[in-house]
Subunit: 290 residues, 2 copies
Amino acid sequence: MFDLPTYLAAGARWIEDALRRLVPPADTRPATLHAAIHHSLFAGGKRLRPILCAAAAEACGASREVALFPAAAIECLHTYTLIHDDLPCMDNDDLRRGQPTCHVVYGQAIALLAGDALQALAFELATRTPVATVEIIRELATAAGSTGVVGGQVEDIQGERLPPDADRLRYIQQHKTGDLIICACRMGMLAAGAPPTDLAAITDYAAAIGEAFQIADDILNATATPEQLGKAVGTDAAREKTTAVSVYGLAGARQRLHQLVATATAALAPLPGNTQPLAALAQHIATRQS
Amino acid sequence: MFDLPTYLAAGARWIEDALRRLVPPADTRPATLHAAIHHSLFAGGKRLRPILCAAAAEACGASREVALFPAAAIECLHTYTLIHDDLPCMDNDDLRRGQPTCHVVYGQAIALLAGDALQALAFELATRTPVATVEIIRELATAAGSTGVVGGQVEDIQGERLPPDADRLRYIQQHKTGDLIICACRMGMLAAGAPPTDLAAITDYAAAIGEAFQIADDILNATATPEQLGKAVGTDAAREKTTAVSVYGLAGARQRLHQLVATATAALAPLPGNTQPLAALAQHIATRQS
């Protein structure tokens, strides 16, 4: 019988072991930089994106091993975005996963550079994928770029102190969070040698859980405690951010969340491999408490 | 007869036309981000790295067109490093190429994100190279990473207010400046389908001009006027930075520069194509006045 907590723990261990092998050791010159990279990369992240990448490969009948390099790459890319988001000129967050953020420990300059280096490392790792290498790198570059995660981040910042706006919310969700989740799933499929029809199915799945993930995040920011999340809460309201809660209200946001899980689950039907992990992940993303 | 100024002007026009075609227009959503990217990317840079990339392709008998995408990629990557270097938490420079720096015009958050997006764009452009695509992306990722240009930048910052040190100077020169110049030349060669012996020759050439470029930069920072450079001068001495001038003295730095040009020129001998541009570029890098 499929047990999601066991699957998540095994997936996190798998990708963490890989990252420890693949990322330069913390004492590599320049040692401060590599220590800063390790500080943020091994801070107890949930490893959701690499786990999705591996689960996507499994959903078309391949072993998760084919997705190892894209999975490691997406986690490095995600971690770089967190380091930069936390900087004083951005969200100015001191706490992440219950630990002091990179710039609090290493200073702003080293944190900036650790993020920069992690983005480059993501692409270096992606080049080691044996199958569909160039397509996978292109997915990663597009998701990471000015009309992807960075574009979403820009609109998120610019949305502060503006009236709630459903169009801007959609743009922010789609790009700031959605693009990397879609990218993780698509890279896993591509690494498994999946045909275009499977790619279309996983894209529908990932678009739905990407939006669900962001809505769940917005709900948690509005309702959870700092202890529960390991980071500051209520910050969206304080900054008057455009979020699912500010646009739809709390009940509306929860209703949308349930619709999205149903959409994601339905999208998995045509896939030939084991889709149980992806189905359970969709449910988990919507109901997570941290 | 070969005329370097004509060659440089034609090369700059060639890569600028390409970048204007390949980079999202300044009004693409989010418009502030793309305007910031255009501000820094079309600020009258000398386009040295893309010109070297094209000249390397020519030096093994190919047309510069084969090197178009790597050339565009290296310019985006270089521009991202400039934007981040200029930020207040780094060098805190207000002026670059005679114009206000990105964060002065667009604010720190947008400048940070413009740099992040340009790094991703560099990799996206590199994926469009038709020949040796994965090798070229790997060169770019390694040069851009924690043991490449970012590593050099870290040691440069950490070298401030420490006694001059020849080992640290070599590390900074090699990585902060050298790695992108070597990468530009090697990508041009790879895009032209060059064999390993040609790659070894261009690497020797590029290592020499990379060091020469940084030494010339250090000499200009110590001796030029702000009008001549279009940016602040004397800043290295004010920050007590480790530079070729602080380590070797002005006369020693000039002597090392001449040796390096001779080494670079000699390295070109085995290459089968037109090496005149690369030879003239080596001379130019050492004697430039801005």
